[in-house]
Symmetry: none
Subunit: 220 residues, 2 copies
DNA sequence: AGATTTATTTTGACTACTCAAAATAGGCCG
DNA sequence: CGGCCTATTTTGAGTAGTCAAAATAAATCT
């Protein structure tokens, strides 16, 4: 398994390569990791040996497919942990980053999946940063889910992410198909409930887990 | 801050010093940490330099007050994390030990306090092991085991002391979880067997060795 | 093109932790 | 008491990651 040091290098290469051509300079990487440039060079060469990055000497570093997969996994852990700390443990918005920095390296995939379900499969963390999917998709087009969006805005269902037969049947029967306009009447995190209001229909209560599988956008 | 390695050494010295005079042998410590004896010696000398343990060469090692304080903090984290994983994330009884082993070193005191509150300040973890208080008090009540108590009293399981996944799974499947009421129907020392009777369940035979890992108290 | 600035890489050294295997000390048994 | 068995310690060496500072390559600016 990758050490936390390796995970940190990969995560920061991913974050720094967001804009631009994907090549990250040694200086930027060293700065982000709070190490001297020589250390970053040494480490990047080791990562390149391991096939996790491509190193173009004196030019920069870029993730390979394998490195990107790992980096996205770390980012997913980081952002889901942040969301947990804020939504469940009610921690300060500003304090959670440092906490997550530690926990992202200690949490297993199993625990992560359960956390994800508990939180209702959020699309973004409390700061609005998109959370990579389990499969490593990082949506640049970010939608809110019914589990995370604020009350009283008029919304439109855009996508249903749980493909299980039972859930799709439920969505069909309750008329929550993509395109439906609705409004979140209330959210009760303690009870794990979301109440929806649709024009010309009875209010509908939904578990947070279920609501997390329904992506919405502001109604045009 | 103490490294996870240091935290692990201290935690295991604490756990191993439970019985006996508090002196832990190098062999036992090395075994618990899965390192060769020479490594344990080297590390213990470093801990002694740091004032966390007292090293009596060729005799053993014991925690200082400072070391004990740290070790109890780690144990508190471990057991609260286990409780969270089982009670909130509904994880398997037998799997949480390994998870907690990682998380205990990554979780801050702030997060721990909030977890503690969320769980309702539990006194024991899911295995029945006592959780040290925030101030470092460890409830060390002595319980009888199923291997030693007399027949025909009504008892209640309070704690399971073998943390191996196999044993925990067995306990789970046979329904001997902490809280369960039962009665020792017979003890056969020659055969090394204990037979249990539970209300509404079939009698269950157990080896003395296994029975020794299940702590019980008189049912109120 | 030549000189200078700036980023990067190299080199040598250090800390923390580990193992393998040789050396040693304690306890015990006759 | 003397010898042996066993646990412990020592020694020498290796891995992962780091820094300080010298060497080098790239880019820029006359």
């Amino acid at each position: 398994m990758a050490s936390s040091t390796v995970e940190n290098y990969l995560k920061h290469v991913l974050l720094l390569s967001a804009g631009g051509d994907g090549l990250v300079s040694m200086g930027a990487l060293a700065g982000a990791l709070a190490v001297v440039p020589g250390t970053a060079t040494t480490m990047v060469k080791a990562l390149a040996d391991g096939g996790l990055v491509e190193h173009r000497p004196r030019h920069g570093v870029r993730l390979t497919a394998a490195g990107r997969r790992l980096a996205l996994g770390v980012l997913r852990k980081h952002r889901l942990v942040e969301t947990f700390l804020v939504n469940v443990l009610k921690m300060d918005w500003a304090a959670v980053h440092a906490e997550a920095e530690q926990l992202e390296h200690a949490i297993s995939d199993d625990v992560l999946d359960r956390l994800d379900a508990l939180l209702g499969h959020p699309a973004t963390d409390p700061h609005g940063d998109p959370i990579p999917s389990r499969q490593g998709q990082l949506d640049s087009q970010v939608y809110a889910t019914l589990a995370t969006c604020v009350a009283d805005k008029t919304l439109r269902v855009v996508r249903v992410t749980d493909q299980s037969a039972e859930f799709l049947q439920f969505v069909d029967q309750t008329g929550l198909l993509p395109g439906t306009a609705l409004r979140v009447a209330s959210r009760n995190l303690a009870a794990g409930l979301v109440t929806l209001k649709r024009p010309g229909a009875r209010p509908l209560a939904l578990s947070l887990a279920a609501a997390g599988n329904i992506l919405v956008a502001p109604a045009r």
